[in-house]
């Protein structure tokens, strides 16, 4: 008879003890992680509604002239930029001598269901830039946008070709919805009704956002759990993995109107690529972007596949434009081990001469 917990009740007791011990260690790790997340020193310089604009305190005797604004997606918390000491893009930039600002869109409430893409692109981002100009005394600004934040940054750049933008740095930014097959199928096969979601719920709840991400790679979560169990003796690995999975599960509600605009105009009708996407009645033409553009994409990005992100550099009008394809996935691109040792040094080398 093969050994089993039923035939060896003593073993069953022992394995329950082991599981309890694992749970205890995981809980302790979780507490440690919370303490270690987003700890780069910063000050809150502006708050408007749920928006918070943070300034990271410089840590070098001198800084680059042009400040950089980090723009996050609406549906994920921005602490992925400042995950933990040694695994923080913000910390890396500050230590390299950049003057770093971050816009945190916050957690939208029901009263914010009317916020649309135009509010973010034509009102909130310009407002943040004005505050940065006032604080720094410098008119120019660089912007780094990640994922959906990259879409906002791109739309802002196209709408303000003579504005204060000095260069545009994008990470895993989708632009061609034909490459987002799963989302298109859900929305264009007469199945999912995005208007019904917003009508019934106001904002799209975080659980729905998380489920949508999971649909893009359904077994990844289970696989991640198994990796953790098999590596229980490596606390450093466990912490690094849990940090990222904790962030992934920490989704934010999607403001209803912004969701609908993106579902209809971006996903279903691909209007950014066709040049028909409108912000406050004005069509957005990516050829208007003339500042230096760098787009960093991941080779194995299941959230924003290369078919969705690959056209961005081709579509912008800039003469100085590059796309870097980095090994890894959507999140490891910005917070993985390879990001720290390979991607960030290259990113900083690109940004430095464009920040003086």
């Amino acid at each position: 008879m093969p050994p089993s917990s039923k035939t060896h009740p003593g073993d069953n007791g022992a394995s329950v003890g082991v599981m309890d011990s694992h749970r205890g260690r995981l809980a302790a790790l979780e507490e440690e992680m919370v303490r270690e997340t987003a700890v780069t020193p910063k000050e809150l310089i502006y708050a408007r509604g749920t928006l918070r604009l943070y300034h990271y305190l410089p840590q070098t005797p001198d800084v680059f002239r042009i400040p950089i604004l980090l723009v996050m997606s609406l549906v994920s918390k921005p602490y992925i930029f400042d995950l933990t000491p040694g695994q923080s893009l913000v910390e890396y930039l500050v230590r390299a001598g950049f003057d770093v600002y971050l816009v945190d869109w916050g957690v939208p409430r029901l009263e914010h269901r009317g916020l649309g893409v135009d509010d973010y692109v034509a009102d909130l981002i310009p407002d943040c830039i004005a505050k940065i100009q006032a604080q720094s005394g410098v008119m120019d600004v660089n912007i780094l946008g990640y994922c959906l934040g990259g879409i906002f940054a791109t739309l802002y750049a196209a709408l303000n070709p003579t504005g204060p933008l000095s260069s545009l740095l994008l990470i895993a930014t989708p632009i061609n919805s034909l490459g987002m097959e799963m989302q298109r199928k859900l929305l264009t096969t007469d199945g999912l009704d995005p208007d019904l979601i917003v009508d019934k719920l106001g904002n799209v709840p975080p659980a729905m956002i998380e489920a949508a991400f999971q649909m893009l790679r359904p077994l990844q979560k289970a696989s991640g759990q198994f990796v953790l169990i098999n590596k229980m003796d490596d606390p450093a690995f466990i912490k690094a993995t849990l940090r990222i999975s904790r962030w992934g599960a920490d989704a934010l509600p999607f403001p209803g109107r912004a969701f609908l605009q993106l579902a209809h105009d971006f996903i279903m009708e691909n209007r950014i690529v066709t040049g028909d996407f409108e912000i406050r009645g004005k069509k957005v033409d990516l050829r208007e972007i003339s500042v230096p553009v760098l787009h960093i994409v991941a080779q194995h990005d299941h959230v924003v596949p290369s078919a969705a992100s690959g056209d961005l550099v081709r579509l912008v009008g800039s003469g100085d434009k590059e796309e870097w394809v980095i090994k890894g996935g959507h999140v490891s691109l910005i917070a993985g081990v390879a990001a720290v040792t390979k991607t960030w040094p290259r990113l900083v080398s690109w940004l430095a001469p464009r920040s003086i």
Binding site: D11, L44, E181, M182, K185, T189, N230
Partner: protein, 135 residues
């Protein structure tokens, strides 16, 4: 003996988990490939639509029962969340005002000069602008 049997069991599970991890990407792609079929995508979408109506009916149905027992409904909890959120926003505005006041009092005396040059990066970080360097 029972200890060995337990360890063997654990090893087998470890091996099974490793096998799952190795194959996860391919299996996930198979599943997403299936979900991308028109009929499947449409069914998933319709299920979500139905769940929205279901949740609405459940919420409405529960509201009367909860009110009868003088217990808060989902809407009550949401309203409380909205109020807390507005309080947080208000506190954040005050904090930002204080920071701005403090910064203007210091009149930029603590701000570092904006004179950093690009070569400081290569000197301190050993960075390179060659996009193929890390490939």
């Amino acid at each position: 003996m029972s200890k060995n049997a337990g360890t063997d069991g654990m090893d087998l599970l470890n091996t099974w988990r490793e096998w799952f991890i190795q194959n996860e990407r391919a299996w996930s792609e198979e599943l997403t490939g299936m979900m991308k079929q028109n009929a499947v995508a449409q069914t998933i979408g319709k299920e979500i639509n139905a769940a929205l109506y279901g949740q609405e009916m459940l919420t409405q149905g529960m509201a009367a029962s909860l009110a009868m027992f003088n217990m808060p409904t989902r809407d009550d909890i949401l309203a409380l969340g909205e109020r807390l959120g507005r309080l947080e926003d208000s506190v954040a505005r005050q904090e930002a005002s204080l920071v701005r006041l403090q910064n203007s009092a210091l009149a930029g005396s603590h701000a570092p000069q904006r004179t950093r040059k690009a070569d400081a990066i290569s000197a301190e970080h050993g960075g390179t602008a060659d996009p193929n360097a890390a490939q």
